[in-house]
Amino acid sequence: MGEKAASRPDLVAELGKLGERDPEAARLMGMVIALAGEVFVLKAQVERLTRAVGVDAERLAAAAANEGMTKWLEAEEAAFARSLAAPYLEPDVSVNATRWMREK
């Protein structure tokens, strides 16, 4: 406690409720979100590159700071996180139809 990152404690499972009964679920969630973070950054880099293809660093920086890029990030930060959370909040989109298999 109160130390630098190198000596941080193990998962404090009871605080993130997801891991309270199954700490592995919390760890897995962490991996998924970390991966999603990488994907998000990659998407941002691609978007930037698309706007600046074939140009020098100055144009790249200008593209990163331009209004269109800012608007894209604002729109994407909300849409991306929501799409990510959807399988957790709405894990199935169709009903369980197996009872129809018992039809005579």
Binding site: G2, A5, L18, A34, F40, A44, Q45, E77, A78, A85
Partner: protein, 363 residues
């Protein structure tokens, strides 16, 4: 030096974390509130016991705990980014500390309270007291976006305007818990003839505060000191203000700080505290706030909200006590005690006047 020297990738990563916070603030919050209402209890502990079965509350809790860790320690997290540049940042602060050294008073012998050293406040490993990287990380983090996604800078104008109204003739002002000095500079701008001193227990943020003041041409004083034991003489100050301070202190320390504020204030001097205190939404609001305090390592956000500040201020020698939710502007429903449609950390402005010492025995 740029205010938030993050790379494009680090800035994009913070957008991603803000997106996670959006889910926490909206969908996961609303699902958690529904689960809490189904619990049908007025006891936060009972609400907690029943709501933990809810998937929405599990996601809400996980995001509350871990989105902050991503913000700080993810691949492009703010603390990680600053720590990689620790030596460069330390050099910047050491150099700026040599300019106008009369404005920066550090005290290497000052012992930091255990509640500062041991809590990892905001899940920042080691807190903001360790080194230059910690100070820059806190500044960048706190000026970027708060947990509820409002811009934490906006209230500086409100803070300064309240001070101006409370003590319009103030010449000697203390700004307690000033960290990197944004609140101190806001006061200095509206009290151009006054001696405004930002006080903080941690040296690195004070050095950063000094750098920012030099950059912005606002000649404020900064002093390393503990709000529980100020270096000022009795009845020497016109206004004691604080900005996001008391929710970082345990109740006994808050009480000592109030008594100390009264000691240094002149009779009739102004006291103001801008912090998370009033929590709307009844038992569910208190349950959410307690969860936040636990999960984001802000344990004293819970204890401070539980204090009877009117009683404490009266006991310390204050009168004309007023408190109201000041930011974000609460809707009529929230003012009536209902929960907001999004998870919102409301800030409370408490103001008071120092009761003349002679009159205290009569109350």
């Amino acid at each position: 030096m740029k205010e938030a020297p993050l790379s494009f990738e680090a800035s994009a990563f913070q957008c991603f974390v803000r997106g996670l916070r959006g889910v926490w603030r909206d969908e996961a919050y609303r699902g958690s509130v529904e689960a809490a209402r189904r619990a049908g209890s007025d006891e936060p502990a009972e609400i907690e016991r029943k709501a933990r079965e809810s998937a929405a509350y599990q996601l809400y809790s996980w995001l509350e705990r871990h989105s902050q860790q991503f913000k700080y320690y993810g691949r492009y997290g703010i603390v990680r980014w600053m720590e990689e540049r620790k030596d460069e940042l330390a050099k910047v602060l050491e150099e700026s500390s040599k300019r106008h050294p009369e404005l920066l008073q550090l005290n290497p012998a000052l012992e930091l309270p255990e509640y500062v050293r041991a809590v990892d406040t905001h899940q920042h490993g080691g807190g903001i007291w360790g080194d230059a990287a910690d100070a820059f990380a806190y500044e960048t983090s706190s000026s970027a976006y708060s947990f509820s996604l409002f811009n934490p800078r906006t209230p500086m104008e409100l803070y300064a305007a309240t001070a101006r109204k409370l003590a319009p003739q103030a010449k000697a002002i203390l700004d307690l818990g000033c960290t990197s000095g944004g609140s101190t500079r806001a006061l200095a701008r509206v009290f151009p003839g006054a001696r405004v001193i930002g006080v903080d227990v941690c040296a690195p943020p004070l050095k950063l505060a000094h750098l920012r003041s030099l950059e912005q041409g606002v000649l404020t004083h900064f002093r390393q000191g503990n709000a529980e034991k100020l270096a000022d003489a009795d009845a020497s100050v016109d206004l004691v203000a604080s900005h996001w301070l008391y929710h970082e202190m345990p109740p006994a320390a808050v009480r000592r700080s109030l008594i100390e504020a009264r000691r240094v204030l002149k009779n009739g001097g102004g006291f103001m505290a801008y912090d998370m205190y009033l929590v709307p939404g009844g038992a569910i609001g208190r349950w959410l706030q307690a969860g936040y305090a636990a999960r984001n390592n802000e344990p004293f956000a819970h204890t401070y909200a539980g204090m009877d500040m009117e009683k404490e201020l009266r006991a310390a020698g204050f009168t004309d006590i007023e408190m109201k939710i000041a930011h974000p502007e609460p809707s009529p429903e929230v003012q009536a005690g209902e929960l907001p449609p999004h998870r919102t950390h409301y800030m409370t402005m408490i103001t008071a006047k120092a009761l003349p010492i002679a009159a205290r025995g009569a109350t």
